[in-house]
């Protein structure tokens, strides 16, 4: 279960590649698809590795990507506690 999730605003991206290069867990890669300005935005290749650290969001000069922490699945824990 991934601890985080990456959200990408494709149309803002200018394909500088900062997020792909500096993601600590190598979640991203530049895709072969184009956005409307003709850049190749990143896409998520290893969603399970994302830690939600938001370093991609701090590096992105175009405010086009950000990471968020995914809350731990609490239902499982609650079920474990009842046993």
């Amino acid at each position: 279960m991934a601890k985080g999730r990456v959200s990408i605003v494709v149309e803002r991206c200018k394909a500088c590649g900062f997020c792909v290069e500096f993601c600590p867990t190598h979640v991203l890669a530049l895709s072969s698809a184009f956005n409307s300005k003709g850049y190749h935005p990143p896409h998520v290749v290893h969603p399970e590795k994302c830690s939600g650290c938001d370093l991609c969001g701090m590096y992105c000069p175009d405010f086009a990507i950000y990471g968020t922490k995914v809350a731990e699945p609490k239902l499982v824990k609650a079920a474990g506690g009842e046993k």
Partner: protein, 291 residues
């Protein structure tokens, strides 16, 4: 106050989203510095109603137009005089000057040293891309020796300004330098500067892939970020005389100066109380009535 919602980019509440995408080139580091600035505002829990951002002319000057804060895009080089006026008229404001190296150290160089000398309570963020970027890549006072620019096609030969050294000598109380690679450190540094009373100066080395890096065959923005990662050394407290920049050389980063000096307004008050005594009556505070 801001509601931090995890379904939008954390920097989004600080941006005028209708003006996006911005004009900065692919690989330019100015947007990255805005991210760090926004994170610093979140972390330091600054009241955005009491914050004003002033910028001059240039690529970095555009920041004033892209942030959803009380911001002012001033004439060339005059960001610091405008900010000084704001601060003197309304001392409760947190005034941030967000501008480039050309605007702050060349056209406004005079204002920079005198604001530091007077120790006016301003937070200056200087995005240094080592060149005049918006006007076509001319040699700036910060361009390191031997770099090729549009006005020095055979290489620059002028000695460059070492900005941390300049502002420390002039009297700044907080001097730090980071690169756009050091996003978290930069955010922390900006938060620290908000805690300081007096002239704080944070220099951020940023790539200009279109003009500086391309002419000097240093690759694109990403290559420059890798160079920053490889060649920058964190040297907190290093004497600023040793942190000058060279072409392709090591970049000393860190917090160089953190000291305390009375700021302009407390010196002014102390002087008037000393010479006028009872006759000195402080002006009542300015109240802005909105609506």
């Amino acid at each position: 106050m801001l509601n931090i919602d995890d379904t939008v980019n954390p920097v989004e509440p600080f941006l005028r989203s209708d003006r996006m995408p911005h004009i900065w080139c692919p690989g330019c580091g100015i947007g990255t510095t805005v991210n760090s600035f926004a994170r610093a505002l979140i972390d330091s829990k600054i009241d955005l109603e009491s914050l004003a951002l002033v910028s001059g002319i240039g690529c970095t000057g555009r920041v004033a137009g892209y942030v959803k804060l009380d911001s002012f895009h001033t004439t060339h080089g005059r960001a610091i005089p405008f900010a000084t006026g704001l601060k003197l008229a309304n001392p409760k404001l947190n005034v941030v000057v967000y501008s480039g190296d050309g605007d702050l150290s060349a056209i406004g160089g005079n204002h920079l040293i005198h604001a530091a000398r007077r120790n006016i309570d301003l937070k200056v963020i200087c995005v240094n891309n080592l060149i005049y970027a918006m006007t076509g890549g001319q040699t700036a006072p910060t361009t390191p020796g031997h770099a090729t620019t549009s006005t020095n096609p055979y290489g620059t030969f002028e000695p460059a300004f070492n900005l941390p050294h300049l502002v420390e000598a002039a009297g700044a109380v907080y001097v730090a330098r980071w690169t756009t690679f050091h996003v978290r450190q930069l955010a922390r540094s900006i938060s620290e500067a908000f805690q300081k009373k007096g002239f704080s100066f944070i220099e951020v080395i940023s790539p200009c892939p279109t003009l500086y890096q391309r002419r000097n065959k240093m690759g694109d923005g990403l290559d420059t970020m890798k160079y920053y990662k490889e060649k920058s050394k964190v040297k907190h407290g290093t004497p600023t005389s040793e942190v000058g920049l060279t072409l392709n050389g090591e970049i000393a980063v860190g917090k160089f100066v953190d000291r305390d000096r009375p700021d302009y307004q407390s010196m002014m008050r102390a002087q008037y109380v000393e010479s006028l005594g009872e006759r000195y009556i402080e002006e009542p505070e300015v109240e802005c009535v909105c609506g």
